[in-house]
């Protein structure tokens, strides 16, 4: 038998003391001469524990074809023995299971987004340590079904309906003759002066309706203002130049300007070439408009609509040619540039209010009032929510009741 170092024990007839001495010497000098112990057989590794508590439910508030599976993590997950969890599905409780998904350790839920609708399904979850899989008990039957109403959006529905009611109420009130107050908007009060200045100087007015599409609210507001401005320029026989960055906006603005001229009986003065498409490209548009400013030297420039980074370039160029400039945008990031470079600026919703302000149409005024009321309601909800959350955090009340009500929490 070999010891650890390879020495072999030999047995031969010698005297007793000699044997003892030799043995002791050997033990002292060659501890490896001690009979080597058999290495212990590795203890059998305990099988990894399967996940328990598998639960499968139809995914709520969806279009069907989806089941949410959840389970309790395997006890071995915390010890780092789990490589992954694999989710299996079958139409039968005992056989025919096929894998439908895989998640990392520590994850205890999975959405099966390819479940066939209306079929009873069974699920099992297997835990893997890289060498073998251990299955949970199966759960089922569960059916994936579509829902007719998304319960998670009920708050949005109620708020939207409330908003619609507010708008309709105030529009009706305005139509019935009720006087609705709008505070003064300095930029719009000076619109007449700006148009008059251009007429006196014999120079054109440049109207820039932003770089966005007709679906943008700011562009719609700009088009409304353009209609009012066009009426004034038609009356005073002042040239109005409108370079557009979107072809659909151009088509709309041509109609608006033409109609405005027709309303004051000056359709002959309308020039279609003065409302034209330049380019969609942001800075190519800037270059084009800057060129118009430098060549035409308009007396008045109106910036109304959605603007991006080009706002300062345009406003500074306009300032350099000595134009009076009035701006209005809901692009908050561009407001500082307009405020510093322009004579008057409409901020955010003042732009939306402009069309109601200029035309004084009851319907538009009513819509504006409805918006204001809704904003007041939102402000109140914010204040109540802040108070509720603060009191809940301080333990004064058991739970944040405003969040629970408003956010379906």
């Amino acid at each position: 038998m070999r010891g650890a170092t390879g020495f072999s024990r030999r047995t031969r007839p010698v005297g007793g003391p000699t044997i003892v001495t030799a043995t002791l010497a050997a033990l002292l000098l060659f501890p490896a001469a001690l009979p080597a112990q058999e290495p212990e057989a590795p203890a059998p590794v305990a099988a990894i524990a399967p996940p328990a508590g598998v639960l499968a439910v139809d995914s709520p508030d969806d279009r069907g074809g989806s089941v949410d599976v959840s389970w309790d993590l395997s006890p071995d997950d915390a010890e780092g023995r789990v490589l992954c969890y694999r989710i299996y599905r079958s139409a039968h409780p005992d056989t025919g299971f096929a894998p439908v998904g895989l998640v990392a350790p520590g994850v205890s839920r999975f959405r099966d987004s390819a479940a066939p609708d209306g079929t009873p399904l069974h699920y099992r979850v297997a835990v893997s340590d890289g060498e073998r899989e251990v299955f949970s008990a199966s759960f089922g039957p569960v059916e994936a079904l579509p829902q007719w109403f998304h319960r998670g959006r009920i708050t949005v529905l109620i708020a939207s309906l409330g908003f619609v009611v507010a708008i309709v109420y105030f529009v009706r009130a305005a139509k019935a003759g009720k006087d609705l107050f709008i505070r003064r908007l300095a930029g719009l009060d000076h619109m007449d002066d700006a148009v008059g200045r251009a007429t006196e100087m014999g120079k054109p007015i440049l109207f820039i309706s932003g770089l966005s599409t007709i679906s943008d609210v700011a562009t719609i507001a700009a088009v409304n203002i353009l209609g009012e401005v066009a009426k004034k320029t038609a009356e005073y026989n002042t040239r109005l130049i409108v370079p557009c960055a979107d072809p659909i906006v151009m088509a709309v603005e041509q109609e608006v300007v033409k109609e405005a001229y027709a309303k004051v009986g000056r359709v002959d003065a309308y020039n279609e070439d003065d409302v034209f498409y330049l380019t969609r490209s942001q800075f190519a548009y800037v270059a084009g408009v800057s060129g118009i400013m430098v060549r035409q030297r308009p007396a008045t420039i109106l910036y109304m609509g959605m603007f991006y980074a080009e706002s300062l370039v345009l406003a500074e160029t306009g300032a350099s040619v000595g134009s009076i400039q009035i701006a209005g945008t809901d692009a908050v990031t561009q407001l500082p540039f307009f405020i510093t470079s322009c004579d008057y600026t409409l901020i955010g919703e003042e732009l939306y209010a402009a069309s109601a302000y200029l035309s004084r149409e009851p319907v538009l005024l009513g819509g504006l009032k409805g918006q204001d009321m809704t904003k007041a309601a939102i402000g109140l909800a914010i204040v109540l929510g802040a108070i509720s959350a603060t009191l809940a955090a301080l333990g004064v009340i058991p739970w944040d009741f405003v969040a629970r009500v408003l956010v379906n929490a």
Partner: protein
């Protein structure tokens, strides 16, 4: 008819898009998907409208010998070249790609870079501390300008902290307020368009 059909279509489509948000059932969502496909198709055609309008305008300028028509010729040459190159292919290394990467990209980047010069000019010419609000504005601008570059970190550790506070507290509060207002304005305008009250998008106020 010319007004009633678009108004009716607008109402039906608008109401459907509002309702489908609350109904996940596939029978409703299938129509929603069809509408989205139509929307994409319509928007693709919008590109065509722009090109046609541009060509018409500049052809008119050339035809009527308007001053500055030389630039109209430049536009046609550029348009023709890029369309021609595009038909030959736009893979990396192609003439189209070469023109895009070496002409359009530098030109547009240069135009955007003009902002730096204009901001400096505006800073000198127009940023005045005339009122208390304007002074606060300038102070905040100075702190944020320093805090957003490494120099601020070097000058004093309170500058980046102050910058973060300005961005995360007063800036966020004001942005939220304006966003809520703008969001409501968008909803109100959408509602008015659906109900036919707002008709500017049709090119008229009647």
């Amino acid at each position: 008819m010319r007004r009633h059909v678009p108004l009716a279509l607008c109402f039906i489509a608008g109401v459907f898009m509002a309702i489908q948000y609350f109904i996940p059932h596939p029978s409703v969502q299938a129509w929603y998907e069809r509408l989205l496909a139509w929307l994409q198709t319509l928007l693709a055609f919008a590109f065509l409208i722009g090109t046609v309008s541009l060509v018409r305008l500049h052809a008119h300028k050339i035809g009527h010998k308007v001053a500055g028509r030389g630039y109209s010729w430049v536009l046609f040459v550029g348009l023709g070249l890029m369309v021609g190159f595009g038909f030959k292919g736009r893979a990396p290394g192609s003439p189209f790609d070469f023109m895009f990467q070496n002409v359009q990209v530098p030109i547009e980047g240069t135009m955007f870079s003009l902002l730096a010069f204009y901001i400096a000019s505006a800073a000198f010419r127009a940023f005045r501390a005339r009122t208390l609000e304007a002074t606060l504005l300038l102070l905040a601008a100075t702190i944020v300008m320093l805090g957003r570059v490494p120099v601020g970190d070097l000058l004093h550790r309170s500058i980046p902290a102050a910058t973060d506070w300005i961005l995360n507290v007063p800036n966020m509060a004001s942005k939220r307020g304006i966003m809520i207002g703008v969001g409501l304005g968008m909803m109100a305008t959408a509602l008015k368009i659906m109900l036919g009250i707002e008709r500017a998008w049709m090119g008229g106020t009647d």
